[in-house]
C-alpha cells in the first residue's frame, strides 16, 4: 500500500501516526488515572466513572458559555478555569456519592458495581433532563484550534499537545500526592490495613472520601479535556468505561506505573493497527489481545508478588 509514496511522505506520516498514538495514550491515561485511584486503591468498581467525566465536560461547556456571555475579553483563557471548576464539581459529586452510597459497600466490592451502574443511569437521565438529549458543542478559544507546523509535511494538532501536557502534569501531581505526600501515605496505609490505619489515628472515613473525590475530580478534568477532541452528550460517558477498566486492569490495578504502561501499550497497538485495517477490526484485535494477555497473566503487567 505504500508503493506510491515518497520516503519523505512516509516518514512524516509515521511521525504523525506516532503522535496520534501518543494522543490516544494521553486520553487513556487521563481516563484511567481517576479509576486507577478508585479501583486500585479502594477496590471500588465505579461504573459511573464515565458520567463523572461527562460532568466535567458539561461544566466546561457552561463555563465557556458564561465567558462568552459575560467576559468575552477573557474567553481565550477560560479553559483553565473550566478545568479547575470541572475538578471541583466532579470531586464534590464524588464525595457526596461516597458518603451516600459507596461507604456502605466497602465490604462488597461487586455490589459497588451494581450500585454505581444505577447511579450512572440516574446521572445520564439527569444530564438529559438538564442539558437536553442533544450533544452540546463546546467552543474553544482560537489559540487551541488548528495545528503546529513542525516541518512542511509534519503537523501536530495543538489540542493534542495540550492534552499531552495536561496528562503529564496530572500524572506528576497524582504521583506526588499518592507516593510522596503525607496524605498519600495515609491512603496507602488505609488500603493495606484499614483497621490498623484507624488505630494509629488516621481518619479512615475522611481518607476514603477524599480519595474517591480525587478520583472523580480527575475524571472531571479528563472530561473537560475531552471536549477538545470528542463529543459531550448525556450518554457519551458510556463509551469510555470498558476501555478505561481494561487499561486499569491490564496495568495491574494497584500500580500507577502499570496504568501508564498499559495505556501506552494499548494505545500504540490500537493506533498502529488502525493504520493497517479498519477502525472496527483494530478495536476488536486490540481488545482481544488485551483479554488474551490477561488470561495468561491475570495480575496485569505490573503487579507485585505478595504474600496473601
Amino acid at each position: 500500500m505504500f508503493g506510491d509514496y515518497s520516503i519523505g511522505d512516509l516518514g512524516s506520516i509515521f511521525v504523525m501516526q506516532g503522535f496520534a498514538g501518543l494522543i490516544l495514550f494521553s486520553v487513556y491515561v487521563l481516563m484511567a488515572l481517576g479509576l486507577a485511584i478508585i479501583f486500585g486503591q479502594m477496590g471500588v468498581i465505579n461504573m459511573a466513572h464515565g458520567e463523572f467525566m461527562i460532568l466535567g465536560a458539561y461544566v466546561t461547556w457552561l463555563t465557556s458559555n458564561a465567558f462568552q456571555e459575560y467576559l468575552p475579553s477573557l474567553f481565550p483563557g477560560y479553559f483553565f478555569l473550566a478545568m479547575v471548576l470541572a475538578f471541583l464539581a466532579s470531586g464534590a459529586l464524588g464525595m457526596l456519592v461516597e458518603w451516600g452510597l459507596i461507604r456502605h459497600l466497602y465490604k462488597r466490592p461487586l455490589d459497588t458495581l451494581l450500585a454505581t451502574w444505577g447511579l450512572s443511569l440516574i446521572l445520564q437521565q439527569a444530564y438529559r433532563s438538564i442539558f437536553g438529549a442533544r450533544e452540546v458543542g463546546v467552543e474553544l478559544p482560537q489559540w487551541m484550534l488548528g495545528s503546529l507546523k513542525v516541518t512542511d509535511t509534519i503537523e501536530v494538532p495543538i489540542n493534542g499537545v495540550f492534552v499531552m501536557c495536561l496528562t503529564v502534569l496530572i500524572t506528576v501531581v497524582v504521583a506526588y500526592v499518592l507516593y510522596l505526600s503525607r496524605w498519600g501515605r495515609q491512603v496507602r496505609a488505609v488500603v493495606q490495613n484499614r483497621i490498623m490505619a484507624g488505630a494509629v489515628g488516621i481518619n479512615t472515613e475522611k481518607v476514603d472520601r477524599y480519595t474517591f473525590g480525587l478520583g472523580c475530580g480527575i475524571a472531571g478534568v479528563a472530561g473537560s479535556a475531552f471536549t477538545m477532541i470528542g463529543s459531550t452528550g448525556p450518554t457519551s460517558g458510556q463509551l469510555y468505561i470498558v476501555d478505561t477498566f481494561l487499561v486499569v486492569v491490564f496495568g495491574g490495578a494497584a500500580s500507577l506505573l502499570g496504568t501508564i504502561a498499559s495505556a501506552f501499550s494499548i494505545s500504540q497497538t490500537q493506533s498502529t493497527l488502525e493504520f493497517f485495517m479498519s477502525g472496527s477490526m483494530a478495536k476488536v484485535l486490540t481488545l482481544l489481545a488485551v483479554v488474551g494477555i490477561l488470561m495468561l497473566r491475570p495480575q496485569g503487567l505490573f503487579a507485585l508478588k505478595v504474600r496473601k
Binding site: L113, G118, I122, V249
Partner: protein, 381 residues
C-alpha cells in the same frame, strides 16, 4: 415431576406452586396475546437470571458477560429461522436468491460455511447448547485455572461482551450487523407470528423454564450445590478439602451460559428477532440486575425479578418515558443498599414469618414439613 418435601422445602413449594399457577393459569387467562407475548419476552431473561443464581448467587462468580451467551443462543436460533425465511421464492428480488437478505446487501453470493449447520433443526438445537457451553468452557478454563475471580473476572467478561458486539456489528455480511436478524417467520413451516403461535410458544417456553428451574433446584440440592456455597465463603477450605475449585467454577459458569443461551433461543422464537443490542455490556448488566432484584440466592426470586423489572421497564416507559431511567437507577441502588437479598430476602424476612405465625396455630396438622427439609440439607434462602 418429583415434587416432595425432600426436593422443595415448604416455602419453596409454595413459591413453586404460586409461580406455576401464575404462569400456566393466571397470566394466560387474564392477558391478551400481546401482553402474554411480552411476558414471554420477560421470561427469556428469567433463564439467564436462573443461571446467574447458580453462578453468582451460589458460586460467587459475577459474570457481566451473560449477554454473550444469551446472544450466542439467540443467534443460533435466529440463523436457523432466518435461513428458513430466506427460501429462494421469498428472496427472488435479490441478486442471489436463497441467502439471507443482509448477505445479499453486502455482496455475499454464497452461504458461508458456518451457516450450513443451521439448515438442520436438530443441529441448531445442539449448537444452541454447545456453542455457548464451549465458549464458556474456554473462558472459564482460562480464567479460573489461573485463579482469576471477583472483579477481574467481571471486567474481563465485560470486555468479551464488548468485543463480540463490535464483531457482530462489524461483520454485518455474516451477522446482519447492527440491524440484527429480523423478519423471522416460520419454524419448520409453522408460522411463528400469528397470535395462536405466540400462545403455543409461550407455553412451550414456560415448560422449558420450569424444566430449567427443576434442573437448577436439583443442582442446588446435590453436594455440588453445597460446594458452590462453601466455595463462595472459604475457597481455600474447599481446595484443601480435596476439590478442584476451578472445575466447580467452570461448571457453574458453563451452566449459567447454557441457561442464558436457552433464554436467547427462546427470545429469537418469541420475539422473532435477534440483534447485537442483547449481546453488549448494557443488557449483560441488566441481566445481573434482574437477578439482584429477585434475590441472588433464590431461583424463584430470579424469575420474579426478571418479570418485575421488565414489567416496570415497560410500564414506566409507557407512562413516564422521560423518567424511567431515574426509577430504574434508583431501583438498582435500593436493592444493593437496602435489600441485598432482593425480593426473596424481603419475602423471607417480612412475609414468611407472618405466614408462619398464621400457620403455627395449625401446626399439629403439618408435622412433617420443616424437619425433613433441614435434614435434606437445603441451604438457607
Amino acid at each position: 415431576m418429583i415434587i416432595n418435601s425432600r426436593f422443595f422445602n415448604r416455602s419453596e413449594l409454595i413459591g413453586f406452586i404460586a409461580l406455576a399457577a401464575l404462569l400456566f393459569v393466571i397470566l394466560p387467562l387474564s392477558l391478551d396475546v400481546f401482553r402474554l407475548n411480552l411476558v414471554a419476552k420477560y421470561l427469556t431473561y428469567a433463564f439467564v437470571a436462573i443461571g446467574l443464581v447458580l453462578c453468582w448467587g451460589y458460586g460467587g462468580i459475577l459474570s457481566l458477560g451473560q449477554g454473550v451467551f444469551f446472544g450466542l443462543g439467540g443467534y443460533c436460533m435466529a440463523m436457523f429461522l432466518k435461513l428458513e425465511a430466506s427460501s429462494v421464492e421469498n428472496t427472488k428480488i435479490q441478486s442471489t436468491p436463497g441467502i439471507p437478505d443482509f448477505m445479499d446487501w453486502n455482496q455475499i453470493t454464497a452461504l458461508p460455511f458456518f451457516w450450513q449447520p443451521f439448515h438442520s433443526l436438530t443441529l441448531t438445537i445442539l449448537l444452541i447448547i454447545l456453542v455457548p457451553g464451549l465458549f464458556a468452557l474456554i473462558i472459564g478454563t482460562a480464567m479460573f485455572k489461573r485463579r482469576v475471580g471477583g472483579t477481574y473476572f467481571a471486567i474481563i467478561t465485560q470486555a468479551v461482551a464488548a468485543i463480540l458486539t463490535i464483531l457482530i456489528v462489524g461483520q454485518q455480511g455474516y451477522t446482519g450487523g447492527i440491524n440484527g436478524m429480523t423478519d423471522l417467520r416460520t419454524l419448520k413451516g409453522w408460522d411463528i407470528r400469528p397470535d395462536h403461535a405466540k400462545v403455543i410458544l409461550y407455553f412451550f417456553e414456560v415448560f422449558l423454564l420450569f424444566g430449567c428451574i427443576l434442573l437448577a433446584q436439583f443442582i442446588r440440592l446435590t453436594k455440588l450445590g453445597r460446594i458452590l456455597v462453601a466455595m463462595r465463603e472459604q475457597e481455600d477450605r474447599v481446595r484443601f478439602s480435596g476439590y478442584s475449585v476451578a472445575n466447580f467454577k467452570i461448571f457453574a459458569f458453563c451452566m449459567a451460559a447454557v441457561f442464558a443461551a436457552i433464554g436467547g433461543a427462546m427470545f429469537a422464537l418469541n420475539v422473532g428477532f435477534m440483534s447485537p443490542s442483547f449481546v453488549g455490556i448494557v443488557p449483560s448488566i441488566e441481566m445481573v440486575i434482574y437477578t439482584a432484584v429477585g434475590g441472588r440466592m433464590s431461583i424463584f426470586g430470579a424469575v420474579w425479578g426478571a418479570m418485575l423489572v421488565n414489567f416496570a421497564k415497560t410500564s414506566l416507559s409507557e407512562s413516564f418515558p422521560q423518567l424511567w431511567l431515574f426509577g430504574l437507577g434508583a431501583l438498582f441502588i435500593a436493592v444493593v443498599l437496602a435489600f441485598p437479598n432482593g425480593l426473596s430476602g424481603l419475602w423471607a424476612d417480612y412475609v414468611q414469618p407472618r405466614i408462619d405465625r398464621l400457620l403455627a396455630s395449625r401446626k399439629s396438622k403439618m408435622s412433617n414439613g420443616a424437619d425433613s427439609s433441614v435434614a435434606a440439607g437445603a441451604p438457607a434462602e
